[in-house]
């Protein structure tokens, strides 16, 4: 059997991903049983290798052919500058939204600075509308920026909106809805097309109820 190597995002979406794989009939015991430290796991019977990686590295592993498939959030895909990746399936996991948010007391201030962990998405979004802003890249706690007068707006992922609320921020624009995607590189998509199609169909049946 042709082996399939699938890169899984560690973190927030890992458990929902494993749950989906299990419902699609894949043996995820090998992943669940391992200690957190092992990064490459083999399901010998199913002919699948799993690579556990940081979400931001998944496009790289897949693009260079180290992994045939990757499970990764659309936010990561939008933010990366890698080459061609094929988006085969929306796994409809980890639903959240990329939004512009502002301090609720200062909505009328013009936006000069936007703080974000997603500089490419932010730059592109404002540029496409011809709005001039300066993008400030932060690595965490973006919601602090308006409180500290570092920026008049932030671009960030929200799921429940709780963090925004706690920091007196309100969503003013939605940039894109974000879900988890199954991606492939061009080579694997062709050379392993039969196995990939089976894999996509198995997951698709669970996701959609009736994927052919």
């Amino acid at each position: 059997m042709t082996e399939l190597t699938v890169a899984l995002s560690k973190g927030r979406i890992l458990n929902p991903t494993l749950d989906l794989l299990a419902r699609a009939g894949f043996d995820t015991g090998v992943v669940l049983k391992s200690s957190d430290r092992r990064l490459v796991l083999k399901d010998r019977a199913g002919g699948i290798n799993y690579i556990m990686a940081k979400p931001q590295d998944i496009p790289t592993y897949v693009e260079y052919g180290v992994a045939d498939l990757g499970v990764v959030g659309k936010d990561v895909l939008l933010e990366q500058t890698a080459g061609v990746l094929y988006e085969l399936l929306d796994l409809r996991l980890g639903y959240c939204r990329m939004v512009v948010a502002r301090h609720r007391d200062r909505l009328e201030l013009p936006i000069h600075f936007v703080a974000t962990k997603y500089p490419l998405i932010t730059e592109k979004y404002f540029q496409e509308q011809g709005r001039q802003v300066e993008v400030i890249k932060l690595h965490g706690s973006v919601e602090l920026a308006p409180l500290l007068n570092l920026a008049e707006a932030v671009v960030d992922l929200v799921s429940t909106g709780k963090t925004l609320k706690e920091n007196n921020l309100v969503e003013v624009e939605e940039i894109a809805p974000i879900t988890t995607r199954l991606v492939a590189n061009q080579g694997s998509y062709q050379m392993k097309s039969h196995r990939i199609r089976e894999f996509v169909n198995s997951l698709g049946r669970v996701v959609n109820g009736s994927h052919a």
């Binding site: 897949v62 988006e87 590189n185 050379m191």
Partner: protein, 405 residues
């Protein structure tokens, strides 16, 4: 970090090929140029610099934001060529008017694309490719496919496969589902990047019947062996399907039908393709090793109405694969010889080296100063020479001592 001398810096996206890699490139290019010549293709070396208009006017390409631009002394915009097909089309439309058709041409060279920089991403790419101009039929398509298979085999990639689509088929398939021309273009844009998630969302939003929507989504699943053509024929009575079936019959005669698979959802970002399109893949490379297709309208943009079909081998991927495999063992080098000499015998050493080179026994290099026998043995070993020829005096005469290192 210590501050490095500024003149040691290299422009991002460009790299130097060091001797091992350069030797691989030279050898691969030689293999391909011999193969292309054996099939009757003649080499053209188009200019590296072009006016930007040939890449931005006429045909719709996605080059606009990827060009290295500068200007000549009259302020006209020059570019480093981002592909070799358009320069070749210009050459054929200007210089080769008198040549009998079909024209068979090949090229080997660099192309330059100003892509967003990210650690190590390249902006200069090496290609070896062919163009067959002046014929429209399946025989020409088959020749190109057979030559593509032969190229990959000659480079030692026995497991490579070619994936074949047809834009003529895609267009009539789309038309049959009832989408407008504009909607069809959007569908093709999604297919060309295999954005199947985006495609599904887009198709869901179209005002079409359920069956038409399923047909649009089904296009990317029309892939596999040649039996897919029979399946496709049931969907669309189109001459392109018949042509593709005929094409496979000819590929059988070329002995390469087993190396070619069908992918009818294959669409290319470049707008100039009109008929067959194909990509080649091998091993676990994430990106194609070669690609090409038919572009019957392109030459018309240069004022010469000629059908054409071509492909290029991505030499950077070839080098990557070959260097991962280590040096191919097909042409074992006999190992080089060091010619060293005792004081006063440099003239004899020059003549001895000349004789050895003439005899064609592999590379011969010379010591550039007199050495003792012991020194020359160490020197030969250090330089990984296989043989040593040491010239020394024995009484009145000069003797050549030959040994293996």
């Amino acid at each position: 970090m210590e501050k490095k001398l500024q003149y040691l810096r290299k422009p991002e996206g460009f790299k130097d090929l060091l001797p091992r890699e350069a030797a691989l490139k030279r050898r691969s290019e030689l293999v391909l140029s011999r193969l292309f010549a054996a099939w009757g293709y003649r080499e053209v070396v188009p200019s590296t610099v072009e006016y930007s208009s040939i890449f931005t006017a006429g045909m719709k390409t996605d080059y606009e934001e990827k060009l290295y631009r500068f200007s000549d002394d009259r302020g006209r915009t020059l570019v480093l060529r981002p592909d070799l097909t358009l320069p070749l089309a210009r050459v054929v439309s200007t210089h080769l008017q008198e040549e009998p058709l079909p024209l068979r041409l090949f090229y080997q060279g660099s192309i330059f694309r100003y892509l967003p920089s990210k650690a190590g991403r390249q902006r200069e790419f090496h290609q070896s490719g062919v163009e067959l101009l002046g014929s429209r039929g399946p025989l020409a398509d088959a020749e190109l496919l057979a030559l593509a298979v032969a190229s990959l085999k000659a480079l030692g990639m026995g497991d490579a496969k070619i994936f074949l689509g047809n834009l003529g088929f895609v267009n009539s398939y789309l038309a049959r589902t009832g989408v407008s021309a504009e909607e069809g273009e959007r569908v093709k844009a999604h297919l060309s990047g295999k954005d199947l998630v985006g495609l599904e969302a887009y198709v869901e939003g179209l005002s079409l019947g359920r069956q038409a929507k399923e047909d649009l989504l089904g296009l990317s699943r029309l892939k596999g062996g040649r039996e897919v053509l029979a399946e496709a024929a049931a969907w669309v009575q189109h001459r392109d399907v018949g042509d593709m079936a005929e094409l496979f019959t000819i590929l059988d005669s070329h002995g390469v039908a087993g190396d070619v698979l069908v992918d009818l959802g294959l669409v290319r970002g470049l707008d100039y393709y009109t008929g067959i399109v194909f990509d080649g893949y091998t091993g676990n490379l994430g990106s194609p090793i070669c690609g090409g297709g038919r572009y019957d309208q392109l030459l018309g943009c240069f004022g010469r109405d000629l059908p054409a079909v071509g492909f290029a081998v991505n030499m950077d991927n070839v080098l990557l694969l070959l260097s991962r495999q280590g040096f191919p063992a097909d042409a074992p080098s006999p190992g080089s010889t060091l010619v060293a000499f005792a004081p006063g015998l440099q003239g004899e050493a020059c003549r001895a080296a000349a004789r050895l080179r003439e005899a064609g026994r592999g590379p011969v290099e010379m010591a550039l100063e007199p050495l003792s026998l012991g020194e020359s043995r160490r020197f030969a070993a250090e330089r990984k020479c296989r043989h040593l020829t040491y010239l020394e005096r024995q009484g009145e005469t000069t003797a050549a001592r030959e040994e293996d290192v």
